[in-house]
């Protein structure tokens, strides 16, 4: 009796009843077994339609296997939609660097990373960079980090400052913009420029995430048809009340989740 499964991203018909038998059948030396997104024992009994991934611990899987593994945790419909997604991350600091990584992990197909800045030590309290990245441009460092997580995410990195003059053309090939600037006036500039000139682009912005007051005040709201804002809306970063990893990451999580929802055509918060 044959069972139809997907094995490492490809359709496979097998007479094997269990994973153990399958491993023998294909003469594999795999030691990591993942079925439908979850770790299983070799004794697992195969069923029609199972998505099976067999890999050797520590070895880089090939593209279809990696893709299959990412898909397995999402439903196939989610994966295909996010893979078509084109998202611009404007600002690669505490919000932007973390949003970009979450979207890469989620399988977003194309990320455009824009920031003029370079990585310096004070960034390390909340931004996604490591000591090895000090002195590199954030756009380049983040591209390297993403390649080490999902090498099949297309990443375009641009070391430049977004201004009134170039913002429109810079984001033109992206359907969603993550606004992740530090300065409130720059936030207003980017949002006003894009909303006024591009009726189709959706913006997910961050505002108010400093300090260590209750994390429960961080939320996502929709303001205007194409603008979503994540944060507590009020807690400005000041000398006395700085940006710290927990609340910044929560805000970044809100942004990444809203971007994911938009990629899945879910427009409510």
């Amino acid at each position: 009796m044959q069972t139809q499964i997907t094995l490492n991203g490809k359709t496979f018909e097998t007479g094997s009843r269990t994973i153990q038998q399958l491993i023998s059948e294909i003469q594999s030396d795999s030691d990591v077994i993942i079925v439908n997104g979850f770790n299983k024992e070799a004794s697992y009994a195969l069923a029609d339609g199972d998505n099976v991934v067999l890999i050797k611990r520590g070895e880089m899987p090939d593209e279809s296997t990696l893709e299959s593994m990412l898909m397995a945790r999402n439903t196939p419909a989610v994966h295909h939609k996010v893979k078509q997604g084109r998202v611009c991350i404007a600002g690669l600091g505490g919000l932007g660097s973390n949003v970009a990584i979450m979207l890469a992990r989620t399988g977003v197909g194309y990320l455009k990373l824009i920031d003029f800045d370079i990585v310096e030590p004070s960034n390390l309290n909340r931004q996604a960079y490591h000591i090895q990245h000090l002195g590199l441009s954030k756009s380049e460092a983040l591209k390297q980090i993403i390649k080490g997580i999902n090498p099949y995410t297309k990443v375009e990195s641009i070391q430049t400052k977004l201004t009134v003059e170039n913002a429109l053309s810079m984001i033109a090939d992206c359907e969603i913009v993550c606004e992740a600037f530090d300065s409130s006036t720059e936030k207003a500039m980017l949002i006003n420029t894009l909303l006024n000139e591009n009726p189709n682009v959706k913006i997910v912005s961050g505002s108010g995430m400093a300090g260590f007051s209750s994390a429960n005040t961080i939320k996502t709201i929709q303001k205007f048809k194409n603008l979503y804002i994540c944060g507590d809306m009020v807690t400005e970063a000041t000398f006395e009340n700085g940006l710290m990893a927990p609340r910044v990451h929560i805000c970044a999580g809100h942004q990444a989740n809203m971007i994911l929802r938009l990629l899945l055509n879910l427009e409510t918060v």
Partner: protein, 64 residues
Amino acid sequence: MFINGTLHPLRASMTLKAFLESEGYDLNRIATEMNGQIVPKSAYENTLIEDSTRLEVVSFVGGG
């Protein structure tokens, strides 16, 4: 007129710029939608608020 969904008495019509300033907004840190349309900053001075106006204003704070 309505601002952010709240009824706001309007004694006389005034420019959007004057209204926003009187409400304490920093014009460099906001985005504004009037009757469902985003208003460019350059138009604040030439846009009039009336009784029927529905205004949505969002203020941004620094940090990110």
